[in-house]
């Protein structure tokens, strides 16, 4: 199952020309700077953006092809706008019911009760929209979109209009959607942090064109894409909780390249987690260091090495079967004679658990 998208939209000062196929499962992040066409693309998928040339298939549903155009209200989708856009004339409950009432009973897979639970808005139902905080409003908007049992959920930077605290308030709810509902999501964002926490798949949009797309772990570590050169260049690694070390209050996580040691997290053994390893926190040694405080040391093979600025090099490593990034100085690269194929030890000074 996949989603096939081909659009060509011309505006006065802007052309969106995309041709891509993305998986119809998990969260696909459409990532790129402001003005690159992310929102236009999402609106075209919803049928909100007039677009004469296009082809759009979501799973088995053909929404647009030639003259065939399914109007937005007949597409089983959920849409979360950048601003919550709750109906001002309805209270929270009636906002939620607005969509539910229009979905035939046989097609209601996500109950309103479940949507309310997932977003934690049970106590807000009788409030009017203007009594809510920004974060609460956005949670209601997400619940409202979910409650129509969408076949696909489209989210246009749902956190962009919120401050940092409100973002942290909502992110866990978005993560739980990911874990608990089997609804494909297209998530538009220009925030690397949100993408790292939520996305399974990444579409990199530049200037109205798809630069490339692929699984998030691969995309972030590709040295031919700009993602690997930011200050926060990072690798995301899927791991599972292996055991807890009660004596030192640590949690051990298994991945294909070894075992991460992190501070204690209250998660059951076997629970899947996503781990972030930032390139600037990874150093390389030729031998396994013993007298070091660093716990996370893994054997790895250098796959690729490219300059990152004048003084630094970005090294892509393969550790087990997952890619990881290390940023080292050009001098170190020369002294250690780093080159593709070489075996090294990657020392990660810090490892962050994302979910």
């Amino acid at each position: 199952m996949s989603i096939e998208i081909r659009f060509r939209i011309e505006r006065d000062d802007f052309v969106l020309d995309v041709d891509m196929e993305i998986p119809a499962t998990g969260i696909t992040a459409v990532f790129g700077p402001s003005g690159c066409g992310k929102t236009t693309l999402l609106r075209a998928i919803a049928g909100l953006e007039p677009c004469r040339e296009g082809y759009l298939r979501v799973g088995e549903m053909l929404w647009q092809e030639g003259l065939h155009f399914v109007p937005p209200h007949k597409r089983p989708l959920g849409y979360v706008f950048q601003e919550a856009s709750l109906f001002a004339h309805l209270n929270v409950r009636r906002n939620l019911e607005y969509g539910v009432k229009r979905v035939p009973v046989s097609e209601r897979k996500v109950s309103m009760k479940r949507a309310i639970e997932l977003l934690g808005i049970g106590s807000l139902l009788d409030h009017s929209a203007d009594q809510l905080s920004g974060g609460e409003r956005q949670r209601v908007a997400i619940a409202r979109a979910l409650a129509v049992s969408p076949g696909i959920l489209l989210m246009d930077e749902p956190l962009a209009s919120l401050d940092q605290a409100r973002k942290q308030e909502i992110l866990p709810y978005l993560e739980s959607l990911h874990d608990e509902l089997d609804i494909p999501v297209i998530y538009v964002s220009h925030s690397p942090d949100e993408v790292a926490r939520l996305a399974d798949h990444l579409v990199l949009l530049e200037d109205g064109h798809v630069r490339d797309s692929g699984p998030i772990g691969e995309m972030l570590t590709r040295l031919d894409l700009p993602l690997a050169y930011g200050n926060d260049a990072e690798a995301l690694i899927e791991a599972v909780v292996a055991e807890h070390d009660d004596e030192y209050d640590l949690t051990l996580l298994d991945f294909s390249g070894g075992r991460f040691t992190v501070t204690h997290h209250d998660l059951p053994v076997g629970h899947p987690v996503r781990v972030r390893v930032t390139a600037r926190d990874v150093s390389l040694t030729l031998e396994h260091q013993s007298g070091t405080s660093i716990l996370n040391i893994f054997p790895a093979t250098i796959e690729e090495i490219t300059p990152a600025g004048n003084a630094q090099m970005m090294v892509k490593l393969i550790c087990g079967d997952v890619p990881m990034l290390a940023r080292v100085t050009r001098k170190s690269a020369s002294v250690l004679d780093l080159k593709p194929g070489k075996l090294v030890y990657a020392q990660a000074k810090s490892v962050a658990l994302l979910s």
Binding site: G47, P72, H73, K74, Y79, E83, S85, F87, H89, R102
Partner: protein
Amino acid sequence: MLNDADLAALAITLKLATVTTLILLLLGTPFAWWMARTRWRYKFMLEAVVALPLVLPPTVLGFYLLVALGPEGPVGGLMERLGGEPLAFTFTGLVIGSVLYSMPFVVQPLQGAFASIGQRPLEVAATLRASPLDRFFTVAAPLARSGFLTAAVLGFAHTVGEFGVVLMIGGNIPGQTQVLSIAIYDHVEMLEYGHAHWLSGGLLIASFLMLMTVYALNRRFSLVRP
């Protein structure tokens, strides 16, 4: 106080204002909706036409209507050939004149209210499965309710207050086309100031009450743009 002719004028005035307001709401709503949303480049010309009655002397509008609706005019002549009577000097003629004359007072508040809703709530409704008609009745109309209130009250009040158009096209026939504003004029001409006072004072108070209701119910009320 009020004589029979005054009471008849009052009844005709209220009937005329009610019928005019209903017709304007019925026709003005889809028109204002379209005007608020179209990107047609010559929309400004239609807006100018709608606003004309705001600046034209009512006698000009009344004169052209009289010409058009009279037995020699295109509309009146057609009516005669169809076996009817010309519309000049009839209640129907008054309604036609009033609808044109009060049009900006209904269309403009509606158009403003629809425009201020913006595209977003309607797009949200579309993604929540609402069809275009459904969106209009369940989102646009409730969000524009202040616009409807303003339009209805202004349309009604302005029709009650018209003089020039009804004088030209109605011909001031007592019991048929004589409305309050003309009745007042007649009283003054005949130096019946007592009658004129009663009618004028009544209109003044009624108009004030209507406008006050609008302002009280709708703090965001914006008066008609000329």
